[in-house]
């Protein structure tokens, strides 16, 4: 579903990603971890064509992301992206947040878009809040709405960039539960997170990035039990015993 081959990306002359290759198969959940500034967000943004790459190739559902001929809005609407800071639209109600891209990007009718919004709000346990505004919700609730907003486009894959990092501890599980359900339903997911409990339960593979390089890319069980690269070791011991 997602094929990343030899990707190198620079911000100016600074290499953020160095010759990265990996893939996410259909229905697979891959967790990406690594120190702050290692390039995790950048990798996610490149997959969704929010950032251009200088070398290599990224294919999503067979479509080359970096090809100038690719219709980017169309491609992006097929890959859901969930941000650390939710980024709900504060001037729109919860329902409208989920409807707007369906209306103007997919051209769905108002009633169809509303029906889809209600279905997804129900799925993330937020159906009672359709008429509220983002500012009236807690962080965990906003993030669940953001997931519903991405799902409303019927994406083929979902990308998550530290979806629980901005949340108070007591709200983390409500978001992880929604993500776990999504994974169980067979959604293809690439998740940047430091929630190792979630990773062990849900991920089939673990990727560790350090300084723009993919240092580890292994099945989850092997990643957690076998010997690891020293850099991954040092990182994991920090986040597991903080």
């Amino acid at each position: 579903m997602i094929e990343i081959t030899g990707v190198t990306k620079y911000y100016g002359t600074y290499p953020v990603l160095k010759n990265c290759s990996t893939h996410v198969s259909k229905g697979e959940v891959v967790v990406v971890c690594g120190p702050s500034g290692s390039g995790k967000s950048t990798l996610i943004k490149c997959v969704n064509a929010l950032e251009p790459i200088q070398q290599g190739s990224i294919k999503v559902d067979g479509i080359e992301v970096n090809d100038p001929a690719t219709n980017l809005p169309d491609l992006r609407s097929r890959v859901g992206l969930v941000f650390q800071n939710f980024e709900l639209f504060p001037h729109l109600s919860i329902e409208e947040n989920i409807m707007i891209a369906q209306r103007i990007v997919l051209g769905r009718s108002e009633s169809l878009a509303r029906k889809q919004a209600m279905t997804l709000l129900d799925r993330v346990g937020m159906s009672g809040h359709a008429q509220k505004y983002p500012g009236q919700l807690s962080g965990g609730q906003q993030q669940r709405v953001a997931i519903a907003r991405a799902l409303a486009m019927n994406p083929k894959a979902m990308l998550f960039d530290e979806p629980t990092s901005a949340l108070d501890p007591e709200m983390i599980s409500e978001v992880l539960d929604v993500m776990t359900n999504l994974a169980c339903e067979g959604m293809t997911m690439m998740v940047v997170t430091h929630e190792m409990g979630f990773a062990r339960r849900v991920a089939s593979r673990m990727i560790f990035i350090d300084q723009g390089e993919i240092v580890e890319d292994r099945p989850t069980e092997a990643f957690f039990t076998e010997g690891r690269n020293p850099r991954a070791e040092a990182f994991l011991s920090k986040i597991l015993h903080h």
């Binding site: 980024e87 891209a101 209306r103 997919l106 907003r149 991405a150």
Partner: protein, 230 residues
Amino acid sequence: MSFWSWSGFFDYLVNPFILGGVLTTIWLTAVSLVFGLMLGLLIALMRRSKLGLVRSLGVFYVWLFRGTPLLVQLIVIYTALPQVGIRFSVVQAALIGLALNEAAYLAEIIRAGIQAVPDGQSRAARALGMTERQIMRHIVMPQAFKVIIPPLGNSVNGLLKTTSVTSVISMEELLRRTQVLIQEKFMVLELFAVAAFYYLLLTSVWDFVQRRIERDFGQSTAVASLTEKR
């Protein structure tokens, strides 16, 4: 009392010639505001363009029109351009001058409003597949609007008074008509007091309106109707 005539003051307060001037001041403000807003939005968007040349044109425009007095701009438009064969009537020259000048200031206000909307909002909209135009219209502008309203209101207050500058090209707005009567009647203080009274009235009424608009937009979040989204 020979320095001040109350009856003169009150007579001119309801003088049809003066009232006509007040009306002219109002529509001059309104029309140049509307054109200034449209041009200002265009300039603000130009200054965010990916194309360097377009951006430079926007910067140049603001630099030119903010860096020269309106008085000079009006005189150039009305009396200097005919020299190269471009002729405008007084009303046209006044409107063009005011709108061009206002646009430069409004462009800066609109640009600041757009910049106040966090980049994450555009990124989220882009990730949902919206085009740059759709993002601007449905996500950025509605949020920028709230930031724009207070300085925009202040700019309208300024514009109400700035219209008086067009009197130099004999645009018959409030100040010009006041001066015309002064030439005939010599009631200098009374007539200027009448003019000041009407400027104060206009700006006070506008202040009131502005406060209501700010209150309405500050409290409830703007409810965008989805019916006109496409």
